[in-house]
């Protein structure tokens, strides 16, 4: 056994670090480090910087403008980006639609859309969930009915992340109304400028705005916007679920969060001493650090298997569960470390009062907001169901 990256991988890691040190704009990294949402401009700018380097679609095949990174390189890249406080790459175009089009799209669709994802002309959002179809996605009701060379789409999507910045949405829609629900779903690309679409913001628990409801009323979508064949949407959705699992544990975020909590616990005081010397708090911190070290290795075990061409079974679900719980625990510690200073509702007016140490005004808000990570992308309960099914069948 050798737990180290290979010399080539280490060289790549060094290259990523050096690139980040030189090219990640400081004001963007500072904003992310403070736990604030990156602005739309931040995300566009960062995407463009990565695209210039050819790293935006790093795991895409070379034919489509990528670097054909394997899972380990992809992991190294994501981990270093997170540790450097780079904004998260918006996944909808790059990690979801891109791979779908490469596998199921027509050559015309690939030629039309893939370059626009890389150069930022298109911002995609994901239209899967509906008010009545969350965990039970196959029960979705948004319908697309064929009318000549168009589909007419009616229905509602919800939880659409960053839809407010998007110009396009990829949707799962119902095209067949009898038989098994999974068999009547299609994958449709929709231009958000089409008449009949209305987007409404949903405000989240901590006060932020990142998700939306999207309403479709008699929206005309050209049939060439269908991906794959009609009623093949569920196959595509399942393909996507099995794809791009490298970052599922979010260990890079946790590594960064742990470093921040440690620094904070050295800064704030309880009973006249740095909090890090408080045995109860230190025990919480040491426990989560041990958990994180273990999950990092589980993650690498999975990546190593994937890189060797092995089929992944239970690993992604395990990593989703453990990874999210660890991140949430770190968010809890970051809030807890502040004591009452976590309580003020963050606002620019308060910044100069420095109630929480600099960069920590959002700790409570982030704790609340990050309850989402065990809910979306297949809730932790659904992950356990997947694992249990595998166990009983195995």
């Amino acid at each position: 056994m050798d737990l180290n990256f290979s010399p080539e991988e280490q060289a790549f890691q060094a290259e990523v670090k050096a690139f980040l040190a030189e090219h990640l704009p400081k004001e963007i990294a500072d904003r992310v480090g403070r736990g604030e949402e990156p602005t739309r401009e931040d995300m566009d700018r960062w995407h463009a910087i990565l695209n210039d380097k050819g790293w935006l679609g790093g795991s895409w095949p070379k034919d489509f403008g990528g670097q054909a990174w394997g899972p380990i390189e992809q992991h190294i890249f994501e981990e270093e980006c997170a540790k450097a406080n780079a904004p998260r790459i918006v996944p909808f175009g790059l990690k979801m639609l891109g791979p779908v089009l490469m596998k199921f799209g027509s050559p015309e669709q690939q030629a039309e859309y893939l370059p626009r994802i890389l150069d930022g002309r298109d911002w995609w959002c994901q239209g899967y969930s509906e008010p009545g179809a969350g965990s039970d996605l196959a029960s979705l009701k948004t319908r697309a009915e064929r009318d000549g060379d168009h589909y007419i789409v009616n229905g509602q999507k919800t939880w659409t992340t960053l839809g407010q910045y998007a110009n396009r949405i990829f949707c799962l829609v119902r095209t067949k109304f009898d038989g098994k629900p999974q068999e009547g779903i299609s994958f449709l690309l929709i231009d958000l400028d089409t008449p009949g679409i209305e987007m409404r913001p949903i405000r989240l628990i901590e006060g932020g705005y990142e998700v939306n409801e999207v309403f479709f009323t008699d929206v005309k979508v050209p049939v060439e916007n269908l991906v794959g064949e009609e009623n093949m949407g569920w196959t595509i959705a399942k393909f996507l679920l099995g794809h791009e699992r490298t970052n599922i544990a979010g260990t890079g975020f946790s590594v960064q969060a742990l470093a921040q909590v440690k620094a904070l616990a050295r800064q704030v005081k309880r009973r006249g001493k740095p909090l890090i010397e408080n045995p109860l708090f230190a025990a919480r911190l040491a426990s989560v650090e041990a958990e994180l070290e273990a999950v990092k290795i589980t993650n690498l075990r999975m990546l190593s298997k994937a890189a060797a061409g092995g089929r992944l079974g239970a690993e992604p679900s395990m990593l989703k569960i453990k990874g999210t719980v660890i991140r949430q625990e770190l968010n809890d510690l970051a809030r807890r470390a502040l004591g009452p200073a976590a309580a003020p509702f963050p606002s620019e007016d308060l910044d100069n009062l420095a109630i929480a140490p600099q960069g920590h005004a959002h700790n409570a808000g982030n704790y609340f907001n990050n309850r989402k990570i065990s809910i979306y992308g297949g809730s932790n309960e659904i992950q356990r169901n997947i694992l249990a099914k595998g166990m009983m069948q195995g």
Binding site: S129, G132, G134, S135, D136, S139, T158, W159, I202, R203, L204, I205, E206, G207, V211, V268, K269, R270, R271, G272, N278, L280, F281, R284, D332, R335, R336, L338, G339, P340, A341, A342, A343, P344, F345, P346, S347, D349, L350, L353, I355, A364, G365, Y367, F368, N369, R371, K372, S374, I375, Y376, S379, N380, E381, R384, N385
Partner: protein, 352 residues
């Protein structure tokens, strides 16, 4: 043995519940609790008129209660209604004013006052208080003073001649910067810079400890009230939300967790009863520490589990339960968190 509430307290609870449902319905709370002045003057006046504040002060000081059970009744109702009115500030103030032999009447009648004890580097411990007095002029900073925004009077704990003393300061004489909290309600930073004050207690340590215990008990009761409501909302949701053709409450994975939430809430209820009965007696400090420790842990569990079992809707601003969940988590950081109180208990163990 009798675990029934007395008739008087039952009547107080009922009238408070009715008043709060009419005056601060939870659907309207977001408009009040998150916008300056982060509470409602009308609701405040109504609470005072109802006599809710009288229940927090002992009879010999001009109040009509003041025992642990009186405090618990009032705060459990405030918690159920998720009321953002800073009643806790009045409770602390009344206890301290009573200890100093001051007239409670203005506060009982609804004068807004706030108590500044915690500081940035000493959020919970009295020994770390750095604010000091030269004669009766005060210098220092009090941080996250609950109810501080809009208070007319401030009671300030400060070092003076080697003792922890209590001063009264007119809010207008200090620099008070008010703000709202992430779970709603008003707070403030209070800056004192050679600010004139009036000495109320030369040695205030005992009075401060007593007031903080009463306050911690109140927060436990508030959390208990909020937990009961969250539990009700959760059970309703488990019965009505359908996925995979059945109510999500039909999934045993969720049933067991909802049941655990219920078991823990009963633990919280019992420890609150115990602490309420012990307040002011020889075991008071220990029982309150046990209660704040347990309730802190349980409140977080209830909040997180209720959110998780709701799925996405549980973290939306529009859904009242999300605000209850925030309060349940943030309550822990007021007047000593779970670790703080557990530490008090471990120290007491060693000394047993």
């Amino acid at each position: 043995m009798n675990f029934e509430m007395s008739d008087d307290r039952r009547m107080l609870a009922d009238s408070l519940a009715r008043f709060l449902a009419d005056t601060c319905p939870v659907e309207k709370r977001v408009d009040v609790a998150y916008a300056e002045p982060w509470h409602s003057d009308a609701a405040w006046a109504g609470l005072a008129e109802l006599g809710a504040l009288y229940a927090l002060a002992p009879e010999e000081a001009g109040g009509m209660g003041g025992t642990g059970f009186d405090i618990a009744v009032v705060f459990e109702e405030l918690g159920k209604a998720l009321c953002p009115e800073p009643v806790l500030a009045s409770l602390l103030g009344l206890r301290l004013l009573a200890a100093a032999g001051q007239d409670l009447e203005p506060v009982l009648a609804g004068e807004r006052l706030a108590v500044g004890i915690g500081e940035l580097d000493a959020p919970y411990d009295l020994d770390g208080i750095a604010t000091r007095a030269e004669g009766s002029r005060l210098t220092g900073r009090k941080s996250v003073v609950y109810g501080g925004a809009g208070a007319e009077r401030l009671l300030i704990a400060a070092q003076s001649g080697g003792k922890l003393a209590l001063f009264e300061v007119k809010a207008g004489d200090a620099q008070v910067t008010g703000y709202g909290m992430i779970d709603g309600g008003p707070a403030a930073e209070v800056f004192l810079d050679d600010t004139p004050g009036e000495l109320l207690l030369e040695d205030a340590r005992g009075a401060l400890e007593e007031a903080l215990d009463a306050g911690a008990l109140a927060l436990c009761a508030e959390a208990l009230g909020a937990m009961e409501v969250v539990q009700g909302i959760l059970i309703d949701y488990l019965k009505t939300r359908k996925q995979f053709g059945q109510p999500i409450g039909a999934f045993q994975a969720l049933q067991h967790r909802a049941i655990d939430v219920g078991i823990e809430i009963e633990q919280a209820r019992s420890i609150v009863i115990l602490a309420a009965s012990a307040l002011g007696g020889p075991e008071g400090a220990k029982r309150v520490a046990q209660a704040k420790f347990l309730v802190g842990r349980i409140a977080r569990l209830v909040a997180e589990e209720a959110i998780q079992m709701h799925g996405g809707i549980g973290i939306t601003w529009e859904y009242p339960m999300a605000h209850y969940a925030k309060r349940l988590v943030m309550i822990d950081a007021q007047l000593g968190d779970t670790d703080w109180h557990l530490e008090r208990l471990t120290e007491a163990l060693a000394a047993e």
